[in-house]
């Protein structure tokens, strides 16, 4: 998706499309041969995705309705072959009622949304002026700045989060700096706090925010700003009444690109957050690995999926609109 943002726009040639249609009508290909090739081209990736992406979700759904039992795998089958050749379907909704009844899980969900929301807002506040600055620079400098934004995306995510552990530590450089300038007198706890999680989130997902914003700002017709200035509009007002509304698709796409992965994030809260930083990705992980409660982990995943799928569809619509606009 990030890649999509920095790929240049397409120029589809209407004539060649018409030409293709004509050719399809005029020149009859042997239908068998083309049919087989076409089926293979579509079929192979389709089958792969169906087997390794669609079916797994059905299994998660199935297990979310089942009970824990001491075995491997640690779940009760929901289809049971009873004595008199009757197949019983045992669906338990207990996992879901358990989750909604337990304040821990509810808190984990609401806290994930809160943390992701604040991180998205912070990333927007920092990312917008950066994208704006890069889009308004010309020539080689723009390419360099652009590369500097993209570069962290290619370096290890894990190591970038790790870098903050050293920086935020009790004896780390940030504490030392704050003491030097006299803001604090003794080291404060920065690591294992929500503050550290926000920093980690903004740090990791900032490129996702900047790229669609950059694409939107770069597209803007600068003569509109000149027109606004000619009509006596001040630059600040021109920004808020011309540039900002024109880039709202970019803002929307950037926010979704940061918010969606941030909600389910595991690594950042696990490394930078404290034991009380409840986030849903972490809870799913712990339920699965520590408690070995596969059904509850599955049920939590299903709920998270339901929460996010609306946003994912929204994102697709925004990107499709962007595509057709360009």
């Amino acid at each position: 998706m990030v890649v999509m943002a920095w790929l240049s726009c397409r120029g589809s040639d209407a004539m060649s499309v018409i030409g293709l249609r004509l050719r399809q009508v005029l020149v009859r290909q042997s239908p068998m041969r083309q049919g087989v090739g076409r089926k293979l081209v579509i079929g192979i990736p389709y089958l792969w995705l169906a087997l390794f992406f669609l079916v797994p979700f059905l299994i998660v759904l199935k297990i979310s309705f089942s009970n824990v039992q001491l075995s491997m795998p640690p779940v009760e089958p929901i289809l049971v072959f009873a004595a008199n050749q009757v197949v019983q379907l045992r669906i338990h909704l207990a996992n879901f009622s358990f989750i909604f009844g337990d304040s821990l899980y509810v808190a984990a969900f609401s806290n994930s949304i809160k943390v992701a929301g604040i991180s998205t807002l912070l990333a927007l506040l920092l990312g917008y002026p950066m994208a704006y600055g890069i889009a308004r620079v010309r020539g080689t400098l723009r390419n360099i700045l652009f590369l500097l934004v993209v570069l962290p995306f290619f370096t290890s995510f894990l190591l970038r989060v790790y870098a903050w552990i050293g920086l935020l530590g009790r004896n780390g450089p940030l504490n030392a700096l704050l003491m030097q300038i006299g803001v604090i007198h003794e080291p404060i706890q920065l690591l294992q706090t929500d503050f550290a999680v926000y920093i980690g989130m903004v740090y990791s997902y900032l490129p996702f925010m900047i790229l669609p914003l950059y694409a939107a700002i770069e597209k803007q017709d600068l003569t509109l700003l000149e027109a606004a200035a000619d009509l006596g509009c001040r630059p600040v007002r021109a920004f808020f009444s011309v540039t900002l509304p024109l880039t709202k698709e970019g803002i929307f796409a950037g926010c979704l690109l940061v918010f969606i992965p941030a909600v389910g994030e595991y690594v950042i809260p696990a490394l930078l957050g404290g034991p009380d930083t409840l986030m849903i990705g972490r809870v799913v992980w712990d339920e699965f690995f520590a408690n070995r409660d596969w059904p509850v982990a599955s049920a939590l995943s299903i709920i998270l999926l339901a929460l996010l799928s609306g946003l994912v569809l929204l994102l697709q619509r925004v990107q499709a609109a962007e595509k057709s606009a360009s």
Binding site: M1, V3, M4, L7, D13, S16, V17, L20, R23, R33, Q34, I42, I44, P45, Y46, W48, L51, F53, P56, I59, V60, P73, L126, G127, P129, G133, T140, N143, L145, L148, V150, F154, T155, S156, L158, L159, Y162, A163, W164, I165, G166, L167, G169, L206, P235, F239, V263, G264, Y266, G281, V284, F288, A297, S298, S301, L304, L305, L308, V312, L315
Partner: protein, 283 residues
Amino acid sequence: MKQKRSLVVLSAMCFGFVFLYLPLLMMIIYSFNASRLVTVWDSAHSPTLAWYRELWTNEEILSAAKLSFKIAALNAVGAVILGTLAAFSLERYTRFRGRTIFALLTTAPMVLPEVITGLSLLLLFVALQQLFGWPSGRDATTITISHITFSMAYVVVVVQSRLATVDRALEEAAMDLGARPWKVFFLITLPLIAPAIASGWVLSFILSWDDIVITSFVSGPGSTTLPQLVFSKVRLGVSPDINALATILVAGVSVGVMLLGLGMVHRDRRKNREARAVLVPES
């Protein structure tokens, strides 16, 4: 007024780039620190290459890196093949049954929380093992399959947008001259989309090389990748040899991206020169 606004933009940019690069810079500096206490600079014995030397002799890290490299390379090949096929289907066959679901399936792995993807893949492998006896346990194979599944989505995006810019007239001309569809693909389309396929390969490699969450779900006891090793070490706190490892990885990627960027700038310049040569006839 204009001054004021550009001041805001300028300071945000300065802050932003310092924010993006300061942590990496600190990590690199401290990788040369002699002290085992990572945050204390031992000026008497630094800079030192001790941690790099230790890294080189650490069998555990070396074998994990080897495994990660193997998985990442294999994954990139698989993702490029499947992703290109999928991109071709979506871009060239505008109408077939289940196209909407197909389009959704190709993009969803990019945005889904990794915890969910990992969990679901593991449950699939367990179910398959119960039903068919394959895969027997979880190892590099299950990791590679999982990585292909999520990284092919990125290949689809890159290749599809490149395919859309390919001039169809070239393909049509070849077909009109009697070339069969597969021949048209290999002789005309493939060379045209080769740059996108190459960047898809690199992207898939990096995604796999870097993945920790999905890998943790689908890996077995005998298969520990480099990110898994780093993660288990990092959870216990900062360690100087990880700083050294990070420095090597960051430096490698930076040089690669920098070269790519220089190539891009160079190509732009050449294009501009050529365009100017056409427009402005030599006197």
